[in-house]
Amino acid sequence: MFEFTQEPMLLSALTDMFDRMGITWSSILLHFVALVILTVGLYLLLFKPVKKMIRERQEKVKKIEKENADLNEEVKELKASSERVLSEAKKEAAAVHESAVKAAGEQADGIVGEAKAKAKALVERTEAEMEGERKKLRSDMEKQIADVSLLVAEKVIGRSISHEDNKRLIEESLKKWSDEENG
């Protein structure tokens, strides 16, 4: 550290050194002024536009980040919405499937019931027709048996009735008719 008493010596030495290097106080001042002008010029011509450009770039980046964030949010909402829609679609599909299965079951039950009813009606009608045919056949058989029996009876009676039998038949008929009419 220099002592206060040594200052004139230092200044003298510095002046000697500047003299040996060809530097004067005026040239130093001139360079200082040039430096100030350069600094101001650089500040005005370079620093400010660069700073403005950087600020604009930063704003652009922020804007892009904000847009990106908005897009991410929108994507999230869309994803949530699509998941919600998908879930609702799944529920709706399940409900439609269940409804279709139920309707198909009911339709199948209806078809089976109708088929059973038709089969029952067919069986009943067939049984009724069979019963009718059976009765008709029985009636026809009875009639044929009666006809054959009577035919046989006619032949037998025609051959076997005697004169006395015939006389008795006639007299019994006359008596019967007389009794009926006379009370």
Binding site: K143, L150, G158, I161, D165, S173, L174
Partner: protein
């Protein structure tokens, strides 16, 4: 002039003897007929059928058999 009395139509399977004929005559006369016209028809098998006016007395074996047939 006496009123002409109708003749009863009598169907038999064989010609009746005199006693039966008298009973038949008496029967038809009681019902206002002047006499009986006999028709022999073996198809009635036996017995007698008498038509007096519009009334028919049917005592034939064939009608009895028909009755049995109807009852079946």
């Amino acid at each position: 002039m006496a009123e002409q009395r109708p003749i009863a139509k009598v169907i038999v399977s064989e010609t009746p003897d005199a006693e039966t004929a008298r009973k038949i005559e008496a029967f038809v006369k009681e019902r206002g007929c002047g006499g009986a016209e006999y028709i022999v028809d073996a198809d009635i098998l036996g017995g007698i059928v008498i038509s007096v006016g519009g009334k028919v007395y049917d005592g034939s074996l064939r009608s009895r058999l028909e009755g049995i047939r109807r009852s079946f």
